[in-house]
């Protein structure tokens, strides 16, 4: 029962939400009764009641066997009929009557200044009250819904944002996503082989959330693009939500690093959605991403960059939304990668929206500036649940994509780019020099040994000569002694000396 729109208007208006009201009326699924009372045609004389309305409703319910009744907006009766007292009593009777009829009734009403409904009546007689409102923050409006009361249930008490688009109303109870998602153990490649190696040789966990952060121009988008490309190569659907570039611009730019996005888009493996963050409220973005994930069913979702959400916005709110988003994507088993812009001049570990605790893997890209050139460095700040490299890597963005190279880390610190190359050349020269030195030393030792050998031989010869001379002297001395004693004996014989003395002396000599 419509109090504000005629049947014709109603049919036209709900068609934009995807409802075929005309068809439903024709097949007797819905009966529409447009109640219209011109205030200035009506004069009240004496007491009245709304029996006619009851009869109309009853007839309509009976003709199609309705189970549900919608009264939109009952309040307009108050503006078109005099005597509020009677109306209030009749309204109360109407609610009771609908209940007795056994139909579920949805009754709309405007909210009052201090009360939920303008007449302060409906919320008391209803079993369930749902409050809709629209709030405007930073010139962006978002619709919200809250269940004020629902008799006999444990209902959610929070305010939930909702969306009205061509598919009707989308409401996703985002806060219901808890921390009980199933962890997935499969791994996915990052699209950069050496980065996979750094991540325990296998890449990221499927269903994890990965953040790539860095200052401007560090190549965040290129990393995301590689990840997207790797997903497409595995024939997985990828949803790329870009908040700063248009789809064609992304496709063009990625072509320069050898990634053909147009091809993947044609194969329906990649969908690039470009949305300005300021276009909708935060909640709306969340719902839209959720809707896209539900309809497109991607395995990988990429958000580039999430920091654009926090422009002029409450960072706490941004974190809350991202938390919900991360929870949602995890519950769907979707691997999410987002980039985060670090403002230059701040410590690189400062993640702008402080969602570092939400992400499973965090790759930090940074500028390494020295010797008048800027080079790009990368390291894995954290990666939950896997052994990951602690090395700083330099990476180059070439026309074949991102390539990782080792940085020079030696006595003079970490060097990259030109400095790394020159240092490597310098090291090579030093190596060469060292080698020559070693060879020289070898020769020197050899020489010295030869000299030593020669000296030894000379000394040996000298010694041999002296030895021979000495031996000769000794034998000569012996000979002389024998000769002397023989001579003495001969002389004694000649002198005819005492024989005893003679024999003793002879004995001594023979010894």
């Amino acid at each position: 029962m419509a109090f504000e729109e005629s049947t014709k208007d109603l049919i036209a208006n709900v068609a934009s939400l995807g409802f075929d009201l005309k068809g439903l009326i024709a097949s007797k699924k819905i009966a529409v009764d447009f109640v219209y009372v011109e205030r200035d045609q009506v004069t009240q004389v004496g007491e009245y009641n709304l029996d006619a309305l009851f009869i109309r409703l009853g007839t309509a319910i009976d003709t199609i066997g309705a189970k549900r009744v919608v009264l939109d907006t009952i309040e307009s009766l108050f503006s078109s009929l005099p005597n509020q007292g009677i109306l209030r009593a009749e309204l109360r009777r109407l609610f009771r009557w609908l209940k007795e009829k056994g139909v579920t009734a949805v009754i709309t009403g405007e909210s009052g200044v201090d009360t939920i409904s303008r007449q302060g009546l409906e919320e008391y007689v209803s079993d369930c009250v749902i409050l809709l409102d629209s709030c405007i923050q930073e010139q962006i409006a978002s619709r919200r819904l809250r269940i004020v009361k629902y008799r006999g249930t444990l209902h959610g008490t929070n305010e939930y944002p909702f969306l009205i688009d061509q598919d009707g109303i989308s409401l996703i109870p985002i806060t219901s996503a808890g921390l009980n998602y199933q962890a997935v153990t499969g791994r996915v490649s990052s699209g950069i082989p050496r980065l996979d190696n750094m991540l325990g040789s296998k890449g990221f966990y499927r269903g994890s959330s990965i953040m790539v952060s860095g200052t401007a121009g560090t190549g965040k988008s290129s990393f995301l693009a590689h990840f997207a490309d790797a997903g497409c190569r595995r024939s997985e659907r990828v949803l790329f939500c870009a908040f700063e570039e248009s789809p064609s611009q992304i496709a063009r730019n990625m072509k320069s690093i050898g990634l053909d996005f147009d091809y993947w888009i044609k194969k329906d493996l990649l969908k690039i959605e470009s949305i300005r963050p300021s276009q909708f409220g935060l909640d709306m973005h969340l719902i839209m991403i959720q809707k896209m994930v539900t309809t497109y069913q991607p395995k990988i979702v990429i958000l580039d960059p999430i920091t654009s959400f926090s422009d002029d916005r409450n960072e706490v709110a941004v974190k809350r939304i991202l938390m919900k988003l991360v929870d949602f994507l995890k519950s769907k088993g979707v691997t999410a990668m987002f980039s985060s812009l670090t403002p230059s001049g701040m410590p690189v570990e400062t993640s702008h929206v402080a969602i570092s605790s939400l992400v499973d893997s965090w790759i930090l890209l940074r500028d390494l500036e020295s010797n008048g050139e800027r080079n790009r460095g990368l390291y894995i700040l954290k990666s939950r649940g896997m052994a990951h490299s602690n090395q700083v890597r330099e990476f180059l963005i070439t026309n074949k994509g991102v390539e990782l190279v080792d940085v020079y880390s030696g006595t003079s610190g970490v060097l990259t780019g030109g400095a790394r190359l020159s240092m490597l050349a310098q090291e090579k020269a030093i190596d060469l020099h060292m080698q020559e030195e070693v060879e020289l030393r070898h020769l020197d030792v050899e020489n010295k040994r030869n000299v030593l050998d020669a000296k030894i031989a000379e000394m040996r010869a000298e010694f041999a000569a002296q030895e021979a001379a000495n031996i000769k002297l000794i034998s000569q001395g012996k000979l002389r002694k024998t000769q002397l004693s023989a001579d003495k004996y001969a002389m004694e014989i000649m002198r005819q000396s005492d024989t005893q003395v003679q024999s003793v002396k002879l004995k001594k000599d023979s010894r």
Binding site: V37, Q41, V42, T43, V45, Y48, L50, L53, R56, T59
Partner: protein, 112 residues
């Protein structure tokens, strides 16, 4: 407030132009069953018509319990409702019609 002031300006003209009794009055009274209020409304309007519009009126009493579909067709929500179909403008009077003066004003039979 503005509505009323417009009414006041318009009404005297119409009263002088249309309430000439040259035209016939067609009145419909919608009731629901024979409740005391319905009965009172019926007797009240009959009395007024006989007194002021004798011979110039057609009064039809419709019981919505008997003809429920007419309620939607004629945009009736309150009971009892008296509708002055002719002469124009169309007027609706809701209630038991107990105040004759007010009914006459409502039927453009008497200026305010």
């Amino acid at each position: 407030m503005t509505d009323k002031s417009i009414d006041l300006r318009v009404r005297p003209k119409k009263v002088s132009a249309k309430a000439t009794k040259a035209k016939k009055y067609i009145l419909r009274l919608y009731v629901a069953g024979s409740t005391p209020r319905s009965m009172a409304a019926i007797s009240n309007i009959k009395k007024i018509c006989d007194e002021k519009l004798a011979g110039f009126y057609l009064l039809e009493v419709i019981d919505l319990y008997q003809q429920p579909l007419l309620a939607a067709g004629h945009q009736i929500i309150a009971i009892p409702t008296l509708i002055k179909e002719l002469p124009p403008p169309l007027r609706r009077i809701i209630g038991d019609l107990s105040d004759t003066e007010k009914v006459l004003v409502g039927l453009d039979l008497k200026a305010l």
